[in-house]
Structures are given as C-alpha cells and as structure tokens.
Amino acid sequence: MTSAGLVTRIGIALALAVTGVSHAYLYIHGYRHIPTIGTAFLLQASVSFAFAALILLGGPAWLRWAGAMLAGGSLVAFGLSRTVGLFGFSEQGWQPSPHAALSAVAEVLTVALWLAYLIGRRFGRPDTRSA
C-alpha cells in the first residue's frame, strides 16, 4: 500500500470512529429511549466501531466501501431528521451540539476519503492489498 493509501485508510478509520463515538454517546445519554431511532443509533455506533477497527487493521477494500456507505446513509438520515422526519423523529439544525456537527463532518470526511481512495486507485498505482 502506498503512503497516500495508508493515510486514507487511517483517515477513514478515524472518521468512522468519531461518528461511532458521537452516536454511542447520544444513545447512552437519552436517545435509546426514542423508538426506532435508539436502535438505529446503537447499530450505527457498533458497526462504525467494527469497520473502523478492521479498516485500521488493513481489511479489504470492501470494508472501506461499506464504511463509506454507512457514513453516507447516516448523512441521509441526518438530512431526513432535519427535514421531513425519520421514523417519526425530527430535530433542528445542529442540535444536539456538538455531536450533530461532529458526526456530520466525520461522515462527510469518510465519504470524501473513500472517493479519494477510489480516484487514487484508478489513476495511481493499484493497491495490492485491496484484492
């Protein structure tokens, strides 16, 4: 793996860990009582942690893809909760602060790093570890 590939991998892992921590914190501090949303937060946090750990350990490329999909899905859910509502749940702006902003930025970063990794792989040296 190239040094750029390594940085991308570590970046994706860290960003996933950050969004996982935010979701876990909110789950523990009250969100678990919100129907459906509570379960979704627990799932998001636990899967984020799992992906982050395995990506850091040098897991295959599909783990980065899955991590990016999880982050993208979380962003869509975030958008829905601020607009039309999600499973009968809605919130305003960047509340709860700072976790809403923190996890949104981490998720955008995850998707961006994954795209950078894809572009790098297409135009750069193939990543032999991804097969």
Binding site: A24, H29, P35, L42, L43, A50, L54, S90, E91, Q95
Partner: protein
C-alpha cells in the same frame, strides 16, 4: 479486464469471509458494550424504581362512528386494560384530549365512567378541540375541570417533577392557541422553580410546528416555551395527531402520542387529516398507549410505546 481478474480463489474467499465474520462479531460485541454502558449508567441512577412512572392515553373519541373504527369504546377499554396490565400502578394517567368525539353529555359521562377503571391514584386530562365543539369547553370543565384554573389549565408537582397541563384548543383559528391569560399563568407558574427542576408539559395540539398546514401546531407556543428554555429538561407530550412523532429543540423534547380510536395520515399525505381505514386486523397495531418514566438525575424521560395488539 479478463474473467480471471474477477475470479476469486478459495483462499481469497476464506479471507474475505473471515473479515466479514470479524466485522459482524465486532459489531455485536460493540453493541453489547454500548448497551452495557447505557445499562450501567441507568443502574447507577436507578435505586429500586424510576422516580416517576405514568401513562399517556389520547384521542379516545368516544362517540365516533365510522369505518375507521366501528367500536371506539371497545378500543378505549383495551387501552385501559393495557395500562392496568403494565405490571405496576402508574403514578398517574394523563389523557391528552379528544376524550369525546362530539362533546355531548352522554359521551363525557361514558368516558369518565370508563376511566374510573384505571388502576392509578390520579387521572389527569386536557381537552381536545372535539371536547369543546359547541360550548367553549363548558361541558368538559363540568366533567373534568375540578381544581383547574382559567379555561381548564393547571399545574402540579409530583416526585420532584413540575407538570403543566395546558389548553390550546379554545379560540382556534387554524393552529392551536394558548392566549394571553394562559401565557401569563405559565410565566408566573415557573418563575419560582429552580432551573434543574424537570418540567413536563401536556397539551392536546402539538406545541411545535409538526404540520401547520393541517393546524398541527400552536401559534403562540414560542412565547410559552420562552419561559421554559432555562430548564435543563423540558418534555412536552401531546395528542391530536394520532401518531407517534418526536422532535427536539435544544433542551425541549416534544412527543406526539398515538390514539386509541383511529389513525390519521402522516403529515402531507393527502389534502386533509381524515380518519384512515386500515385493512382488517391492522387497526390495533396503529392504536396504543405510552408508558413514561423519569429517573432522578437523568435529563431525558424514558418512553415506551405500547400498541393495543
């Protein structure tokens, strides 16, 4: 790219399966750890039982006749049984309005008699717009208004929690309305409370703009809520919309409750909120009650939605 490039060897398949298994395993372990931490946090705060436990029931619409529910009295009776079967007597039961469908004396009498079957020390109510269709709520107050102020609003303290019951169904134009007298009452009512007092607010129509086009909001709620912003925990429970919905705005969380009578469409589904007729056997999944508990030291109330099924 050749076909060979897409072909996975047995060794690769085993390796990917191992990574997949590790992902699933780690996710399960992570979920268990987070749940355990949440459970430990609860256990550290809970000593024996929550500080306060109550049940919310709403929109019984006693007297309604229609395809959406041919027997609302039976559904309400099941809701009462559901509350009585919670496994403990709730500290109180709140009915968040539309007790009756047309506010006739017979309907008030029927719903009042039915609620005597609730095994709880206290039953509280707020009126819905259906409870004041022709007399600005006079019959409602005759039946349920004892000890209330103004047009039926009141407050009380229980287990260290301050509870405010509001009337936003009189003087309706399109949205719910509290009015100057009630806003004045709220300001004075909470003035002496310390900011760490948990506050619970009951109303029929949502105090947040759930869907103003259908009147699902209260035009002067912002003024009422301005008096509550300083409190660390404010929970507003309402009925009216016949469906579970929640929203948070800073320290204030709003929870719309479901009904025991008939479902209404989701916001914006169709031109108006008309009763929805569900396929046979599906109605009781849409009806229900809500179990609410508060534990001292926690900001958020714990809610459990229970269907009548």
């Amino acid at each position: 790219m050749t076909d060979a490039a897409h072909t996975m060897s047995r060794r690769q398949l085993i390796r990917h399966s191992a990574w997949f298994g590790a992902a699933v395993g780690l996710a399960v372990v992570g979920g268990e750890v987070i749940s355990h931490i949440a459970g430990t946090a609860d256990a550290a705060r809970v000593q024996g039982r929550p500080t306060l436990r109550f049940a919310q029931v709403s929109d019984s619409h006693i007297g309604f006749t229609g395809k959406a529910n041919s027997n609302v009295a039976s559904s309400f009776s099941q809701a009462i049984d559901r509350i009585n079967d919670l496994g403990y007597p709730p500290d109180f039961v709140i009915h968040t309005g539309d007790l009756t469908h047309l506010a006739t004396p017979d309907q008030f009498d029927q719903v009042k008699q039915m609620m005597t079957g609730l095994r709880t020390p206290h039953v509280f109510t707020v009126p819905g717009e259906h409870d004041s269709v022709d007399d600005a709520g006079q019959k409602y107050r005759s039946a349920f208004g004892a000890g209330t102020r103004g047009d039926g609003w009141y407050s009380f303290d229980i287990a260290g929690v301050h509870v405010i019951a509001l009337v936003n169904t009189l003087n309706l134009k399109k949205l719910g309305h509290l009015g100057a007298d009630q806003l004045d009452f709220i300001a004075k009512d909470v003035a002496a409370l310390s900011s760490d007092t948990p506050v619970i607010v009951f109303s029929h129509i949502p105090l947040f703009a759930m869907y103003p086009d259908w009147g699902w909001g209260t035009d002067d709620a912002a003024q009422a809520l301005s008096n509550l912003r300083r409190f660390s925990s404010v929970t507003c429970l309402n009925g009216h919309v016949h469906q579970v919905f929640s929203k948070t705005e800073g320290n204030v969380t709003f929870y719309s409750g479901t009904t025991t009578a008939y479902p209404l469409p989701h916001p914006g589904d169709g031109p108006a909120p008309k009763p929805v007729t569900l396929p046979a056997g599906k109605l009781h999944d849409a009806l229900g009650i809500r179990e609410v508990s508060y534990t001292k030291g926690q900001n958020a109330l714990a809610l459990k939605e229970r269907t009548l099924q």
